[in-house]
Symmetry: C2
Subunit: 191 residues, 2 copies
DNA sequence: CTCGAATGTCTAGCGGTGCTAGAGTTCGAG
DNA sequence: CTCGAACTCTAGCACCGCTAGACATTCGAG
């Protein structure tokens, strides 16, 4: 009975279309512009169709965020692929993280600013999130010194996120980003 | 013509009532619950009255945020009032900052998460914001070492904000906060 | 081939949002 | 006592996330 298979394929296709379209609108005009009406119109279906794929808008944001975590992981891994050590490795990671946020502001918002309903700290934490954390851990573990590597990653990640968040919301100037990153990396690699 | 003066007093009173009520609702039930209708009902005026005091909801959030900056400045100043030096001073400041955010989550959101329309980085930056930054600067200047103190403050503040933001949004566990703060202070005071 | 059931999609609408035009009222000045 | 300005209100706009229920389509059994 291949009919059902075809329908399932089509359904999966449409699922992906919704996620991609939501991301597209968010990148074009920000998440505020991602309304269920606009989204439905763009995919050329009515609003209720969205709710047959997702519980609600939050879950759509979550799906976009998951894509973001996979891409962030790739960006980090690629930034340290040449095998830099010590300060150079940390600097490469930090720059890759900030560049990712600058290049994908809407994606970054979905991952870290908006409520996407994703569990971050319990057993149900999705794999892409764990992998992103793992990518940070792999790079930072050997500069953590005698500190707990997991804790070290959390704090360094927090600092990066703080810089990105305050800059993106206009609370820090964009201009000083490079110097701030430099100082941050210094402090986390013992000058 | 004292009539006008009385009216102006009453108007200022109502202005403050709006700000205090908005803050109250936000503290009770979060900013999502601060709607113009609910706010109007609580102050026992109709919605349009709000718009004779503020351009819109964003400006009300901004007014609450300004209160927050004044209180944060006081909290920081009081935390370092005993004149601790070096690591102890930085630790006191960091703990005061995080404690402030924990104690006033809605206030913190207005200051650093929501779009309150406040200018942070240009000549029109309101005094309370400058003073809060100044309070950080006064404490941190003499542990900045050979780094530019302003830059040092920006980065340390970013790190604190990152910790607070990620914790408050469930991306970090609350449980590890103290250990993370410890590590952060270590890194910014040369171990 | 027919027909009832299941599946899928749509229209229409609920209760809510921020915000505002214009009507109505109040009140001080002359 | 009247008039005009200042003020506040009612009512409503366009939009939001979300959903009940009508309608169409497709499927499997007889």
């Amino acid at each position: 009975m291949p009919v059902r298979e075809r329908k399932e394929r089509e359904r999966a296709r449409r699922h992906q279309l919704i996620v991609a379209t939501a991301r597209g609108i968010a990148e074009e005009r920000g998440w505020d512009a991602v309304t269920t009406r606009r989204l439905a119109e763009r995919i050329e279906y009515s609003q209720p169709v969205l709710y047959s794929h997702f519980r609600g808008k939050r879950e759509i944001v979550g799906a976009v965020a998951l894509e973001g975590f996979a891409e962030l992981t790739a960006a980090i891994r690629s930034a340290v692929a040449g095998g830099p050590r010590g300060r150079a490795a940390v600097a490469a990671l930090a720059e890759a993280y900030v560049a990712f946020a600058e290049r994908n502001p809407a994606l970054y918002d979905a991952m870290f600013l908006l409520d996407a309903g994703l569990p971050f700290t319990d057993p149900a934490t999705p794999a892409p999130l764990r992998e992103a954390f793992g990518a940070l851990l792999d790079t930072l573990a050997d500069v953590a010194g005698d500190a707990d590597p997991g804790l070290f990653v959390e704090v360094f990640w927090s600092a990066l996120h703080g810089l990105v968040a305050l800059t993106r919301s206009g609370r820090l100037t964009e201009e000083g980003t490079a110097r701030r990153l430099d100082l941050l990396v210094d402090r986390f690699t013992g000058r």
